[in-house]
C-alpha cells in the first residue's frame, strides 16, 4: 500500500507550458545554442539547457530524473556522428538512447517525449528550429503524466 497522504494533484488545468530539459554537449550543441542566442533566433524560454561534456555523458538516469523532477520532454543534443570531440562518444550515446527510447515506448510512455538531435556549433538555426519543433510536439502530447513523481508536484 502506498501512502501519499500529503500529495494532492492539482486538478485545475492551467494553460500548459511544457517544461523541456535539453542536455547539450559542450563542444557542438551548447555552442549551437549560444549561436542561436547571439543570432537572435528565438526558442522557447521553458527549454532548460544542461551542459554536458559529451552526449555520452548522459546516462538513462539523467533522463528519468529530469522527468521525475517535472520535465515534460527531454532532448539530447550532441555533435554530428563522426564529429565527436572525443571521436566516438556520440556513437555510444546513439546506441544507448535508441535502446532507452525503445524501452520507454515499450513501457507505454509516449514516444515523442524523448528525442536526440545532432546540432553542430555552426547550426544555430537548427538548434532554434529543433527546440521550437520539440516544444510544439510536447505541447501537443500534453503534460507528462506517466513518468512523473507525485511528490515533486507542487
Amino acid at each position: 500500500m502506498q501512502v501519499n497522504e500529503t500529495n494532492t494533484v492539482n486538478t485545475e488545468e492551467k494553460e500548459f507550458t511544457p517544461l523541456i530539459v535539453a542536455f547539450c554537449c559542450n563542444w557542438c550543441s551548447y555552442a549551437g545554442a549560444d549561436l542561436a542566442g547571439s543570432s537572435r533566433l528565438s526558442y522557447p524560454a521553458n527549454v532548460k539547457i544542461i551542459r554536458v561534456p559529451c552526449s555520452c555523458r548522459v546516462n538513462p538516469l539523467f533522463i528519468l530524473r529530469a522527468f521525475q523532477r517535472g520535465a515534460d520532454g527531454v532532448i539530447l543534443c550532441g555533435c554530428h556522428p563522426g564529429d565527436c570531440h572525443y571521436s566516438t562518444g556520440n556513437y555510444y550515446a546513439r546506441r544507448r538512447m535508441t535502446l532507452l527510447f525503445s524501452m520507454l515506448d515499450y513501457l507505454g510512455i509516449e514516444k515523442g517525449r524523448t528525442r536526440v538531435e545532432w546540432v553542430s556549433a555552426a547550426e544555430g538555426a537548427k538548434f532554434s528550429a529543433t527546440m521550437n519543433d520539440f516544444a510544439a510536439t510536447i505541447h501537443k502530447l500534453g503534460p507528462n503524466r506517466k513518468l512523473r513523481d507525485l511528490r515533486c508536484e507542487k
Binding site: T88, R94, R95, M103, D105, G108, R115
Partner: protein, 329 residues
C-alpha cells in the same frame, strides 16, 4: 535423473580426491522435496550433494566471491549457466583460473510456484519422471504435465550445448533432450502489438506489485557492481522502497538497462521475484532490440566478443527509429 545423480556424485568425489578442486558449489536438500539450497561442500560432507529437477538456480554469480578465495572451486554448470559464466569471465569478475567448470546435463527445471498455481498445494513429495509429474499432497495425489510446470527459462531453452567447461559429465550429444524451445520473443511481440496505453496499464499493474526487495538485483549474475547505484547514497536515487510509482518504473528500467547487452536471459530475476513480475520481458525487449538494430547477439556465447553497448558502427540507426518502428501509439 537418478543415473546422472550417481554419475555426478562419483565424478565430483573423484575431482575432489585428486585435488582438481578443493570444494564444490553444489545443491543441498531442504525441508521439502523442492526447496533446494546452494551450498559449498567439501570432501567430508559430499554425501549431501544431489541434483534434481529443482536445481534451477544459476550458481555462476557465487563464483565471483568463490574465485577470490583460496583454492580452486568446482562449479556445476548447466548449459544455460555457462552463458552467465562466460559473461562473468569476460568482464573479469570471475577468475577463470580458480574455477574448474564441470558441465552437467539438464532436461529442464521445474518451477514449484507453477505447480502451486495449478491449485496443487500441501505438497509432500514430487516424482519427476518424464512427461508427467506426480505430486503427493496432504489433499491426495495429483498429476500435472511436465511442460506446464517448467521454469520460464526452460520453455525457451537455449539448447544442450555447454559454452564453457573444463570437463563434461556426459558429452553434449549424449545428454538428455531439452524441452523444445518456444519463441522467447512471443510475449514481447504481443506487448509491442498493444497500444501504448495498454502497455502502460500492463506494466503499471506488474511493476506496482514490486516491494523493492532487491532479490532480482541480488541474484542477477550481470548485476555484479560492488555498490549498486540504488544503494549509493550519493547517487541521488538510493531508496529502500518505492515511495512513488515513479520509483517502481525507474528501478526496473535502470536495472534492465544496466544489464542490457550483458544479460544472457537466464531468467533468474523472474524466478526469484516474490511477486512474479515478468522482469525477463524487460530484458528480452532489450535483447530483441539489440538483435534488430545491431545484429544478432547472444551475451555469454563466448568470453571475448564485444558487447553491443560497448561497440558501434558509423551507420547505426538513429534513435528516431523508435518513432517509426516502435510499438503502436
Amino acid at each position: 535423473m537418478r543415473e546422472i545423480n550417481e554419475m555426478l556424485k562419483k565424478k565430483v568425489s573423484e575431482l575432489l580426491e585428486n585435488g582438481t578442486a578443493d570444494r564444490i558449489i553444489g545443491w543441498q536438500a531442504g525441508e521439502f522435496c523442492y526447496d533446494v539450497t546452494p551450498a559449498v561442500m567439501r570432501k567430508d560432507n559430499l554425501d549431501e550433494l544431489f541434483y534434481n529437477g529443482f536445481c534451477g538456480a544459476n550458481q555462476s554469480k557465487y563464483l565471483i566471491q568463490e574465485s577470490l578465495e583460496e583454492g580452486k572451486v568446482l562449479a556445476l554448470l548447466k548449459p544455460c549457466d555457462t552463458y552467465s559464466f562466460n559473461q562473468l569471465v569476460k568482464e573479469h569478475r570471475v577468475n577463470r583460473e580458480k574455477v574448474y567448470a564441470l558441465g552437467i546435463p539438464c532436461s529442464g527445471m521445474l518451477d514449484v510456484d507453477k505447480i502451486k498455481a495449478l491449485g496443487i498445494t500441501g505438497i509432500l513429495s514430487i516424482e519427476d519422471n518424464g512427461e508427467e509429474i506426480k505430486v503427493a499432497t496432504m489433499y491426495g495425489d495429483k498429476t500435472c504435465k511436465r511442460t506446464e510446470v517448467l521454469q520460464e527459462r526452460c520453455k525457451v531453452c537455449k539448447g544442450k550445448e555447454h559454452k564453457a567447461y573444463d570437463e563434461l559429465l556426459i558429452p553434449d550429444e549424449d545428454a538428455p533432450e531439452v524441452p523444445n524451445g518456444e519463441d522467447r520473443f512471443e510475449l514481447v511481440n504481443k506487448l509491442e502489438a498493444m497500444t501504448s496505453q495498454e502497455r502502460f496499464d500492463f506494466w503499471r499493474g506488474e511493476l506496482s506489485k514490486c516491494i523493492r526487495c532487491n532479490a532480482c538485483r541480488n541474484v542477477c549474475p550481470a548485476c555484479s557492481c560492488r555498490t549498486c547505484v540504488f544503494d549509493n547514497d550519493n547517487s541521488g536515487v538510493a531508496a529502500k522502497s518505492n515511495a512513488d510509482d515513479f520509483e517502481e518504473n525507474m528501478f526496473h528500467i535502470i536495472r534492465a538497462f544496466h544489464v542490457a547487452g550483458r544479460c544472457t536471459d537466464c531468467g533468474e530475476c523472474s524466478r526469484v521475484c516474490p511477486q512474479h513480475i515478468p522482469l525477463h520481458l524487460l530484458n528480452r525487449k532489450f535483447i530483441k532490440d539489440i538483435d534488430e538494430f545491431y545484429g544478432e547477439f547472444q551475451a555469454g556465447e563466448d568470453d571475448t566478443a564485444k558487447g553491443p553497448l560497448t561497440a558501434y558502427t558509423e551507420g547505426d540507426c538513429e534513435p528516431s527509429i523508435v518513432m517509426e518502428k516502435g510499438g503502436e501509439a
